[in-house]
């Protein structure tokens, strides 16, 4: 085969001549490194769960789970202490919901535009810019909400009191802006991966671009789109800085987005940087809330995987 032509390899005839001629240590080392790399994330997750369990278990030894999950008063660090987590949960859900109301329509709109309407050059220009938005530190977003958006809302609010200095609306809105790139970029990838054959087929039947996007590309890309939204929701639920700065630190069981409210993450951050002695019930609340947060995200992921399996259209 080679041009230098030392000719064919000839069997030497001695037994075991098919053994490897040189040991390949590099191969093994690389494999070990790669396995280690993939194990880091798995082990970290497992480690976090394990670390969460004992303090959380101790907490639930003192406070009944029912009181925790249904109680409407959250004041674990004051006396008398109340351990009703509902205000934190509603705060989290309220801010996340507002963020999704902003991010899903805008993110999917951007994705459909980039994937189905934009010319290649426009896409090449827009997509990197969109992704830069994902790299802005969340503390910047938080101050933007507190210092720019809230005053603006207070100025232009038609009638009534308008938003408080700390409010869920600004925090949720800015958080929505923050997760637009996640949703837009990943959804765009999913739509872009839909084969052009399907678009051609739809156009040839007299579809408009919008019909191709909504009736053919969108359903075919559904699993990727839902994954993008789930990732966005996970980021929103887990986001701490924006809510700590812009939504305030007062647990507040309210469904009025103009009021300040504390989220689960904001509580963990506030309590975590305080000087709570380990082993106290106050310290353990951090782990109880953390476990609840973990379970909420997990359930959401499982539900969305189910939903996707049910509704997606597999195109290959």
């Amino acid at each position: 085969m080679t041009s230098t032509g030392s000719g064919r390899r000839v069997a030497s005839g001695s037994p075991g001549f098919l053994k490897r001629s040189q040991p390949r240590y590099g191969e093994k080392a690389v494999k070990v490194l790669l396995v280690a790399a993939s194990l880091v994330s798995v082990l970290t997750t497992v480690g976090i769960v394990i670390a969460l369990i004992p303090p959380a278990a101790e907490f639930f030894g003192e406070v009944s789970f029912g009181d925790f999950i249904t109680g409407t008063d959250w004041s674990p660090l004051f006396k008398p202490a109340h351990f009703g987590v509902l205000p934190l949960v509603t705060g989290t859900l309220m801010v996340t919901l507002i963020a999704l109301l902003v991010a899903v329509p805008l993110g999917l709109g951007a994705a459909v535009y980039l994937s189905e309407y934009a010319r290649p050059r426009v896409r090449a220009f827009f997509k990197p810019i969109l992704e830069v938005l994902a790299g802005i530190p969340t503390v910047v977003y938080g101050f933007f909400a507190l210092q720019a958006l809230t005053p603006l809302l207070q100025d232009i609010w038609p009638g009534g009191e308008g938003p408080q200095v700390f409010n869920a609306l600004s925090a949720g809105f800015v958080m929505g802006i923050m997760i637009i790139p996640t949703i837009a970029s990943l959804s765009e990838d999913a739509m872009n991966a839909v084969p052009n054959d399907l678009r051609d087929g739809a156009f040839a039947l007299g579809s408009s671009r919008m019909q191709v996007a909504t009736r053919v590309v969108f359903p075919a890309a559904l699993s990727g789109i839902v994954a993008a939204i789930v990732l966005g929701v996970s980021r929103a639920i887990g986001e701490t800085m924006i809510v700590a700065i812009a939504a305030g630190g007062r647990p507040n069981l309210s469904f009025d987005p103009l009021e300040g409210m504390q989220t689960m993450t904001a509580f963990i951050a506030a309590a975590g940087i305080g000087d709570l002695p380990t082993g106290t019930i106050g310290y353990q609340t951090i782990f109880a809330v953390g476990s609840l947060l973990f379970v909420m995200t997990l359930v959401m992921n499982l539900v969305s995987i189910r939903l996707v399996r049910r509704y997606r259209q597999v195109y290959e």
Binding site: R119, L198, A202, A204, L205, S208, R215, Q313, Y315
Partner: protein
């Protein structure tokens, strides 16, 4: 020169025709015409189809060129395509026949760099006129592609897609049944209308795509190498279907398969690519005539060479 082809060419042409005949006999579509036990000494003659007259043209193409950016992919095509007959476009790879067929329903509009110069008239109307809506065009001029491309939806929804986007008013169930029956697919799929179209075989998928196309009741069906991804039996079924549909529809088919063109088409256009003085390749229409004439007595040497298997 073209009137006196060399003996060698004649021999080659005879060989090509013979293989076309054998294939025609082997395919179930023509089986009833063939003798049950063909005598090896008297090979069956290929029966070309009589071309209907071109008195009611559907498309009139005049000095048509197609550019991709600066490159002229197809240069100066003139041809007239007749009503309710099958027109085949044959030629070697890269001769612009697929580019050409995509002009007829403005699919080239979807390629940002593509530009069409010249005239295509559809029943006298300029297809590329300013006021023409490409969506309206594609509802009248449907298209079937090389690779079967059913939507990842149920069989029913595939057929119903076109009528739905065209805001069809009427009974969709009836339309689906009627369409699948016309496409000779109803008996095979009637019990699994709600299952995914992707569970069908390749040949069934392609017939579903043809059915999907006729569900919007077009006048013309364009087919861009509809059988190139299919096995011979599936191909024969599609050819049967084409013959059947040609009673109602005008069909234009691009094919790599000369025997297919010989078997199903009434008229054949032979394209090839020319290299001009600047060294650039352009697809050209060499010869367009009744299929029988193209395959038995072409007037251009290049056609002769192609159908006799000298190149392509």
């Amino acid at each position: 020169m073209t009137t006196e082809p060399s003996r060698r060419i004649q021999r080659l042409r005879r060989r090509a025709l013979r293989s076309a005949q054998t294939a025609a006999v082997a395919s179930p579509s023509n089986a009833p015409d063939a003798p049950d036990a063909p005598d090896s000494t008297t090979a069956p003659r290929v029966s070309f189809r009589d071309a209907p007259p071109l008195t009611t043209p559907v498309f009139e193409v005049g000095s048509l060129s197609v550019f991709y950016g600066d490159h002229e992919a197809v240069r100066d095509v003139n041809m007239t395509i007749g009503d309710r007959q099958i027109t085949a476009m044959i030629g070697p790879s890269g001769c612009g026949k697929s580019t050409m067929i995509r002009c007829f329903n403005r699919m080239n509009d979807l390629i940002p760099t593509a530009r069409v110069v010249g005239k295509i008239r559809y029943h006298g109307e300029n297809l590329y006129g300013k006021e023409v809506d490409p969506i309206e065009v594609r509802r009248r001029i449907g298209m079937v592609f090389q690779k079967p491309n059913p939507f990842p939806k149920s069989i029913y929804d595939n057929i119903a897609y076109g009528p739905r986007v065209g805001s069809f008013k009427g009974n969709l169930d009836d339309l689906v049944e009627e369409t699948l029956t016309r496409a000779a697919l109803w008996d095979e799929v009637k019990d699994k209308l709600k299952t995914s179209a992707l569970a069908l075989s390749g040949g069934q998928q392609q017939r579903l795509c043809i059915a999907r196309t006729i569900a919007v009741k077009p006048e013309v069906i364009l087919m861009d190498e509809p059988c190139s991804a299919l096995d011979p039996i599936a191909t024969a079924k599609i050819e049967d279907l084409m013959e059947h549909l040609a009673q109602e529809f005008t069909i234009v088919v691009v094919t790599h398969n000369m025997q297919q063109a010989a078997r199903v088409s009434h008229r054949t256009a032979f394209f090839t690519s020319d290299v001009d003085v600047k060294g650039e390749r352009h697809g050209r229409l060499v010869e367009y005539d009744e299929t029988e004439r193209i395959f038995s007595n072409p007037s251009d040497q290049r056609t002769e060479d192609y159908i006799s298997g000298r190149f392509g």
